[in-house]
């Protein structure tokens, strides 16, 4: 079974080697045959999608297609999609059908792309293993006993397993990059404010950012051109031009300076993983990149900082799920308090409740200064660390994760160990910086990811570096073994 890149599909459509309708049928066929092993989709929108593919084919026929006309994609089930169920991986929204499209969904639709289905995810994006989903865990195509990471695990697996050419995810603390690393694909978290958050079910508003899971940097660049941009409906989106990312991929990176923070190489990173990363660095060196050891002194505080800020925001963001206007509503209740308690007790899973309680605690009178305020101060310090570092370097590199994909069930009962999973990725969210993870080798026959973090709005830099790396290596082309036989 062959995985098609977005770029390939566009070329095939333009040369009429295949129709959009045929592409859609192919993916729907693949999903129905294989997704039972992965559980990467929650909802398929096949009828609407097939309908749209027929219109797309007419548009291609007419010779005036849009950049993404006829291209299918998968969307994480956190993006509101008009008329299509949006569960956010939760029982709370099990039957929620939004009356509107998220801006990023509209952006892709407006360029001709076709939403094929909604992918599985950790409940309300809270999790790093996809095990907190109400709809069951997602299985890693490299080893079905393993987690694909999370929270955008469904999107990552759909792309890695050839069940979608490209997918949208969201990244609050590493939710695109870690699953991308665990499944051997490329995952980009753009700068905070680069893509609209309107219509994206909020987890932690100051950290959430929509992004892309793809097979290559090139595909990522093509999609980002349509995805990104200012949205008057999102006050935190930034009014700045969207570059033609796909035309800036081959710029020479000779003479670029990249910093490697010593804080990334602590006891959590095993020797084999470190070696894979160091080998990848050599590829960059061969392309003329210069490396420099740097220090980001407050990096070690990013996990505890994150686990104050994110739950605080989530405790407030999730207050709207009370069962009054939408969402899970229990029939037999005694009074108003009982109504709230029962709806939320049954509607939310354990991890979501844990974070709501943590967040409520850190915002409470008497604890606010010690937790929330202090975390905000540390967040500032982390931002400043990067700001200072970027005076001398163009980007920061390190491993995306400490280990490759872990086994399902291995960490779910130990939240703190689970939280440590995002130790390398969280800082970029706290500082609002763009970051990418791309495949850079294998550890114990499992894909391993390399992360690059760049200054605000320097997505071009990330895509340029990754693309040239992918021209030199074929890690990103490695398919999960079963796929080759399927």
């Amino acid at each position: 079974m062959e995985r098609y890149t977005l770029k390939n599909l566009v070329a095939m459509l333009r040369s009429r080697d295949i129709s959009s309708h045929e592409i859609l049928e192919m993916y729907i066929q693949r999903i129905s045959e294989h997704d039972s092993s992965f559980n990467s989709y929650i909802t398929l929108s096949q009828d609407v999608a097939l309908e749209k593919s027929i219109q797309a084919d007419r548009l291609i026929e007419s010779g005036d297609p849009l950049p993404l006309t006829g291209i299918p994609y998968a969307g994480k089930d956190i993006f509101c999609t008009q008329g299509i169920k949006t569960t956010c991986g939760s029982k709370m929204l099990e039957n929620f059908i939004p009356p509107y499209d998220a801006t990023v969904i509209s952006n892709l639709n407006n360029q001709g792309a076709i939403l094929m289905g909604k992918t599985n995810m950790d409940e309300f994006a809270m999790g790093s293993s996809n095990e907190t989903s109400y709809f069951g865990p997602v299985h890693n195509p490299w080893d079905l006993a393993r987690s694909p990471g999370g929270s955008s695990g469904g999107s990552a697996v759909a792309v890695a397993a050839g069940l979608a050419p490209i997918a949208l995810g969201t990244d609050t603390g590493g939710s695109i990059r870690q699953p991308a690393a665990f499944t051997g694909i490329t995952g980009l978290k753009p700068t905070y404010g680069r893509c609209s958050r309107y219509g994206m079910v909020a987890f932690a508003s100051s950290l959430d950012q929509a992004g892309i899971l793809a097979l290559t940097a090139e595909d990522t660049a093509i999609l980002l051109e349509s995805l990104a941009g200012f949205d008057p409906m999102d006050s935190t989106s930034v009014e700045t031009d969207v570059p033609k990312y796909s035309e800036l991929l081959n710029v020479s990176i000779k003479g670029k300076t990249v910093g490697i923070p010593k804080e990334f190489f602590d006891e959590g990173l095993d020797a084999e993983s470190e070696q894979v990363f160091l080998d990848a660095i050599k590829v960059y060196e061969s392309l003329g990149v210069q490396f420099k050891d740097i220090s980001l002194p407050h990096l070690g505080l990013s996990v505890p900082t994150y686990y104050v800020v994110a739950p605080a925001e989530c405790s407030s963001n999730l207050a709207r799920y009370d069962g009054i206007r939408f969402g899970y509503r229990h029939d037999e209740i005694d009074d108003l308090d009982d109504f709230y308690l029962t709806n939320r007790q049954i509607g939310f899973g354990a991890e979501v409740k844990r974070r709501i309680i943590t967040g409520t605690y850190v915002l409470s009178a008497g604890y606010y200064d010690a937790y929330y305020l202090k975390a905000q101060k540390v967040r500032q310090l982390i931002s400043q660390d990067f700001k200072k570092a970027f005076q001398d370097i163009d980007a920061v590199m390190g491993p995306t994760t400490q280990t490759p994909a872990f086994k399902i069930g291995e960490k779910i009962d130990d939240p703190v160990t689970m939280y440590m999973n995002d130790i390398y990725t969280i800082a970029a969210n706290l500082a609002g910086l763009p970051a990418i993870s791309h495949p850079c080798g294998f550890v114990q026959n499992l894909p391993f990811g390399l992360q690059i973090i760049a200054p605000h709005f320097a997505e071009t830099e990330l895509l340029n570096l990754t693309h040239l790396f992918q021209q030199e290596t074929d890690w990103h082309q490695k398919q999960p073994p079963d796929l080759n036989e399927a």
Binding site: V201, A202, A204, T236, R320
Partner: protein, 479 residues
Amino acid sequence: MEWEVVIGLEIHAQLACKSKIFSGSSTNFGIEQNTQASLIDLGYPGVLPVLNQEAVVMAIKFGLAVNAQIAERSIFARKNYFYPDLPKGYQISQYELPIVFNGSLEIQTQNGLQKRIGITRAHLEEDAGKSIHDKFEQETAIDLNRAGIPLLEIVSEPEMSSPKEATAYMHKIHQIVKYLGICDGNMQEGSFRCDANVSLRPKATSKLGTRTEIKNLNSFKFVEKAITYEIARQEELLNEGKEITQETRLYDSDTDETRTMRTKEEENDYRYFPDPDLLPLEIDKSTIEQIRSQLPELFEAKVQRYVRDYGIKENDAVKIADTIELARYFEKVTAVFNSDNKLVANWILTELLFVLNRDGLSIDQLGVSPESFARLLQRITDGTISGKIAKDVFDSMVHEKKEVDVIIQSRGLEQISDVSEIESIIVEVLETFPDQLQEYLDGKEKILGFFVGQVMQRTQGLANPSVVNKILKEKIKNK
């Protein structure tokens, strides 16, 4: 012990914006339930607030009008609590850094002195929806038309020391927001409402006593009565040596008393924190100056101008300028009729206000345009009708919605100023009452009024009084 009363007010003024503070929904009042609630007002998953700049401009106008500081950077915060008519589970408000702070205004105290009352802050926030408990049996209905309506919460310093001062302050704020056109001031519809904080302390001490907060007072009368009741209640407790419980109380206008709503222990921990969906609100100096240059003329300036340019008494100017509606009416009348400003002022303050009070009308409901009113006064000064007849004509204008000249003509109310006509009537009167004439000639000059009255009676009051007086004196002199 003698107690000193300390009162502070929190006034909620609904800003007269066309759309809600964080969504594009309309703000019309009295529309069918839940028809002015967008997905944003409903707090749907994924929606985000976008600040209405009109509300910001209005808040700045208020700040400038009370000589306050305008924050170059203010922050929107979330006030978290669960309630069915609060769709998001939090209210977007301003907490630590409000848009307006450190202002003040002057009120007049009972003994006629000016007193400065500090305005701690004024901040922007959204209103919640409305819970309707009496429409469905055993069920509560929610109307979210009001959710997201822009409010300006104006917080005073605890510097008022009597119910009268509190209402004077509230009146002043009401006057300012209406002058600025940022609030319609309609208290029945809840556009202007107030919470009062009341505490007592031993006279001549400085430490504040334990306060209670009386919620949601929606008329000047209720503010005065609720505070009066609360002072008496607290005084009684303190005199008995008991302690005041810090709590929120409700005023029941039917029984004219306040009662406990919730105590401090039952208060929510609102878990305020900066709303990550909204950037800090930054206002530069040039914006403030631009808004300042567009501020309308306010009360004090109007009074001065009326005295200076219109030549009316300060007392009258104060009364006319008391409400912007009356002031506008006055200015429109004098724009058309400028030969006697004092007459205009008198007529507005007596006849016009009398009719408004009697019929319970607002000036917009009166149905007599300033232009029509000006023509009425014109007819007095040009001698067509007397002032007395004019009062009846005005009444007819209000009730029959007819123009002054139409009424005068159709009823033949035109004043008789024709000398020969009046002369013949006077001759008749003098002949009818020879005894009275003799009394007058004997020096009882007061009796002149009797003859005037007789003439008026015979002309149904239409004779021009000054002409009557003049001719009467001539005729008697010739006797």
